[in-house]
Symmetry: C2
Subunit: 395 residues, 2 copies
């Protein structure tokens, strides 16, 4: 009995189930919905009315002018509701409001120290989110979900960060519970690199089922989409490739306590350190990017070598995941083709031909927007799911 009542596709109103057919945006008639579901016309009418009441479905314009009869075609109405997307970085936060198609309607970013702790950072997010809604002249009840990316591992089922190394005070903090005291909508939380993978796919590769997004910045991590779904793994840390050992790194100490980790050789700070050891003035990844853009040969060579180190780890990734796209993002991707060239050099040399025949290794198209777009996708995906629709109907 428990099994039956649990299924969200079997929600109380049934409207959520019907909505899944309308979610793709294609206009449909009552008759086609009845045929597809086997439901009675009267049931269809009641469920369509419920979806229209929720603002999720709207009559299609050219069918609405047939006189006194009810409109004959309906489709998803992406503009009727909003989601709040938040990219909470180590030292900067960006929030955006998007519609249900992921189109950004308003955004705001400012410096923000994640180490200020969850209540300060999330409090800012709640206030700034409300201001964005008000600024658009929209009703706060139009907000249907919130997606949040944070720079650390997250237990996806509960939305709690787990042992995040650079987020003091956030360990096991109930992010959804806290936010919902102020904004009573579903709150989805995930690792920043995971949501960047979602954002990159939405922006540039909507039809791709197997995509790996690699973030190269102060740290190195990846988000893995396999079979069309983001893969989080048993502890929510799938894709955490920064501490895989690379051949060149044998003795190099890493902040994790091990030696030879990818992050200790190919992150922005690691490249800067290697350049300093050669006598080049570079204190940060940002300095490295500036040097590369000025054509500094040492910096270009160091970035290319970092690309090769990343490629070494991605060779294992290509064998394991067999993606059709690897997108390289994060601040160090601004070094452009030099980084990607190093990645390609190793991956195409070291992988089996069948795995690389149709493999694109590219710079992130979503770039700095990847995380906020992905946070929006995370929220929309939930809001439009059977569970999300049921939650909305119950409000």
């Amino acid at each position: 009995m428990v099994d039956i009542s649990r299924g969200s596709a079997l929600g109380i109103s049934g409207a959520s189930e019907l909505f899944q057919l309308l979610r793709d945006g294609v206009p449909r008639t009552r008759a086609s919905l009845a045929q597809a579901t086997g439901l009675a016309r009267s049931t269809i009418a009641a469920r369509v009315d419920e979806l229209m009441r929720l603002g999720l479905v709207t009559p299609v314009a050219d069918a609405a002018s047939t006189g006194g009869r009810p409109p004959s075609q309906f489709a998803l109405n992406p503009g009727a509701r909003l989601v709040l997307a938040a990219d909470l970085g180590a030292s900067h936060a960006t929030i955006a409001l998007t519609d249900l198609a992921g189109t950004v309607l308003a955004r705001h970013g400012e410096p923000m120290d994640i180490a200020d702790g969850p209540e300060a950072v999330l409090g800012w997010m709640v206030d700034a989110g409300r201001e964005l809604v008000d600024g658009l002249g929209r009703d706060r009840h139009d907000l249907v979900a919130i997606g949040i990316g944070v720079p650390g591992p997250v237990e996806h089922s509960t939305g709690r960060p787990v042992n995040p190394p650079i987020m003091p005070g956030w360990d096991r903090f109930d992010v959804p519970g806290w936010v919902q005291q102020h904004l009573e909508v579903p709150v989805l939380v995930d690792n920043d690199v995971n949501i960047m993978a979602l954002g990159e796919r939405a922006q540039a590769w909507p039809a791709v089922e197997h995509l790996v997004f690699v973030k190269v910045a102060t740290g190195i991590g990846s988000g893995v989409i396999s079979g069309g779904l983001l893969q989080r793994g048993a502890q929510g840390i799938a894709g955490d490739i920064g501490h895989v050992q690379v051949a060149r790194g044998a003795g190099v100490p890493c902040h994790c306590g091990n030696r030879g980790c990818l992050e200790a050789l190919a992150s922005g700070p690691a490249i800067a350190r290697a350049l300093r050891e050669q006598g080049v003035a570079a204190n940060s990844g940002s300095d490295v990017i500036d040097l590369v853009k000025r054509g500094d040969l040492d910096a270009i060579q160091a970035v290319r070598q970092a690309g090769r180190d990343i490629g070494e780890v991605l060779t294992a990734c290509v064998s394991l995941v067999n993606p059709s796209v690897i997108a390289i993002g994060g601040s160090m991707a601004r070094a452009g083709e030099h980084l990607i060239a190093g990645v390609r050099e190793v991956v195409y040399t070291r992988s089996m031909p069948l795995a690389t025949e149709h493999l694109a290794i590219v710079q992130s198209a979503a770039a700095a927007d990847a995380a906020v777009l992905g946070a929006s996708m995370l929220a929309i995906h939930h809001a439009l799911s059977p569970e999300g629709i049921d939650q909305l109907a119950a409000r």
Copy 2:
């Protein structure tokens, strides 16, 4: 319009949709089915009748004796139908008949050269399969699907092997099309290591969502289950880790044309070769196993080192996939704890604590049965899907 007619959950009869609720084996009443689906009692009755006609659903015994009224509870009837499972190896083939719960009812194995080509091998499989059905005294129409594992990459959507290195004559061969000329049921084909992952999970870890199965034999490969689903990747070669480079292997030539591949260092033949270079008489992986079982120290050390090499690649796997179980199978796993100890040594040394905190690295429990069990799972999974039920109803 196209979208609506395509969805298999929206099958013609609707019985397939209803069946998904009964698939777990829990007995249910007409009333609970009506409540769960929102369908009319008359529709429920017709669909239950259809599922009983197909033999997939049966009245539950203690409810069948309520006099003249129709029985009030129904459940999946796993014994009513059969699937044929085939493990076609390089030099040996095993087939089995199982019920819809994966219980083996009859089996047969014999030496078989995959290089004899698809028509010879599949012809044998068809004949031997029919004999098993007849031997059980069952009707050939009881067979509802066939699952086949082959030792090479497979395009899963079509069931065609793609550039399989040790399967001459099989490249792009339409395995399902050929088999269906003789046995008119759905035919599912997959790589042997993929189905071993399915078999291992079914046998020992049914509740585990993230499992990696590693086959160590003449070659080395893995099957990756993430989020509860087998991940095949863009070309169906996800998990193909045999040609990832390992640090120790810098100069060692591999049959793939590259150097330093895992398979060139840690496969059965590679271990035997390394032992020969030390003056130990070992011509094959099987000889190595015999030496280990006799306590030969050189062989034990060589197997442990192979485990370390495999562990090096699995460290990347642990970071990318974040599994909760790694099961080591294939013929070399018969070396027992010596191989696993090497794997554990490196994975637990090199991985992040959060990734290994709840990670079990174990010897395959399904062992020699992993492939045939997995082929059965592949067939059952399809047969009980909405699409499979619709196909059965249309026969």
